[in-house]
Assembly symmetry: C2
Amino acid sequence: MTLDERKLAVLRAIVQDYVNTEEPVGSKSLAERHQLGVSPATIRNDMAVLEEEGYIAQPHTSAGRIPTDKGYRLFVDRLAGIKPLSAAERRAIQTLLNGAIDLDDVVTRTVRLLAQLTRQVAVVQYPSLTRSAVRHVELVQLNVNRLLLVLITDTGRVDQRTVEFPSGISDDDVNVLRSAVNNALVGQRLSDAPTRVEELLDTIAPALRPALTTVASVLLETLVERREERVVLAGTANLTRSTVDFRGSVFPILEALEEQVVLLKLVGEVDSPSMLRVRIGDENQVEELRGISVVTTAYGAGDTALAGLGVVGPTRMDYPGTISAVRAVARYVGEILAGN
Amino acid sequence: MTLDERKLAVLRAIVQDYVNTEEPVGSKSLAERHQLGVSPATIRNDMAVLEEEGYIAQPHTSAGRIPTDKGYRLFVDRLAGIKPLSAAERRAIQTLLNGAIDLDDVVTRTVRLLAQLTRQVAVVQYPSLTRSAVRHVELVQLNVNRLLLVLITDTGRVDQRTVEFPSGISDDDVNVLRSAVNNALVGQRLSDAPTRVEELLDTIAPALRPALTTVASVLLETLVERREERVVLAGTANLTRSTVDFRGSVFPILEALEEQVVLLKLVGEVDSPSMLRVRIGDENQVEELRGISVVTTAYGAGDTALAGLGVVGPTRMDYPGTISAVRAVARYVGEILAGN
DNA sequence: CTTGGCACTCTCAGTACTGGAGTGCCAGCA
DNA sequence: TGCTGGCACTCCAGTACTGAGAGTGCCAAG
């Protein structure tokens, strides 16, 4: 059976009211607060249909209705509309993000901003190493047996590692290595770096090959390292605000959110910055997060997605508002990183 | 009035039982579970005295007693004793921390470890810049108008900033600057760096003075920057576990803990690594954190304190256990950083 | 197809009652 | 003087009951 216009309007009204009041909504108050042009009795009939189709449910007989996951899904897909950000919000985003001094700062500010705008838990992934390009590789001699390798990417990210040379290495060799590595890598995507390094190994003077091998192995290690997987969180306090919510307690949710792996799964499946993904309740793959909703998107410079960011909250959330906030923040962060 | 031995024993027993059961403890169960050698009636008399002196209180007439902040204070100062860590715990600390690959990793692992050991909220401050020494300053030319300044300290911390040269700068000048700055700063405490930089300004070739001034200002900025103030958090989920606790809700506490400033106040007042500070309930300066306890200490290489770490939990916490855990973790982290 | 009416259901808040845990006090005993 | 058993008292927590209110489903009529 296909739902007619009015039934959809009723569903929309139910979602909106429930999100506002956090209480099951009944036919009478619906008729009062929305201009549906029909009587409560008619609305009751529509509600009965909507319930039969699985879009809404009653907590118990003779209580109002609340939307189901399926109901929210329909709302998001077809009924939500777009809620533009207020001028004040736009200004807040711009001024806050423009003041950032380095990548760490950008990420920290972003995640806080997002938490504040949506009043929910915000999640931001660090720009992925492999998707960005090498800006510079620096080799610093700490002593005869130790080198510090610093990798700088065009997203402003800096990673460092120490490299051990049990048999020692000379200043001159370090200088040669430095320029060789930089020549081979600067401007290259990190994902292409391994290939370039291999080519370099073939062309370098044989005397330097062992040293280069050592450096290269550390370098490659850095590329595939867990650094890739850094995710930051803010606004967890907001989880405890919507008290009544969350089937059961907040504890397992908070616990799950502290697991980097879980966060990565949430936010890491990035496609294109123009795409936005909403996962509602049971649609979530993560076991512990059934019963909450996740709104994520990718951000990046231009078209290439660098990493993901998003928001975690109760299924009963203000989807239009949250979606615009996530979109807007992602776009600004992308611009900031591009202009870096 | 001074409390005799038995009254202290009663107080100790009350604290221990209350921490275990989370329920007000009565005279009868006390007599049963501890070998105090006297009858419940006698214990009741002692309890009346303890209550009069403000060490314990009743939630309501005819309920058991619970310790007051003052009671916990006495317990911590004179009755707690030391609870050695289990062999398994020691092993966990060592293996986990030894696997760390860089400073970020050390800090992240530490804070998680601490949260896990104490089953509470853990707080770790990044090693303070000003207290550590310069290992190397690197200047990387990004283009004619831009330099990347990388500051590496002996605690393994790496900070970077871009330096703008509107009028351009040559390769040669960069090289001269690099060695000049390194000669002046390597090995120096960061707190002494400003003085060294000024001396350097006086001795450098006049042609380079403007360039050095530009670099120096960015460098000095880095030294006093918010980076100094980074604090990380883990185990917030544990706050929601001890449900009954926390006068009122968890929300304001979580909110306060998300404020870097608050965290810094908590953990930042560092003295010496050998000192450990316990702040109980109302002893907390931070308004929102009355009603919880904070156990902090400093960690560092050798005697100099680099930064603070600690644990936040309900006043009803296992003080002996928490204290040993905090001590042990701080010591290991110090060793790791020293051996770096 | 919509509407008003009506009987029915279920929750929620309030009241009353009871059992149990714990106390304070007192008188007796070492 | 200090400890002990006894006893009356207090207060909470749990259970049971009640009435009000909100909301529903269904039906007959427009």
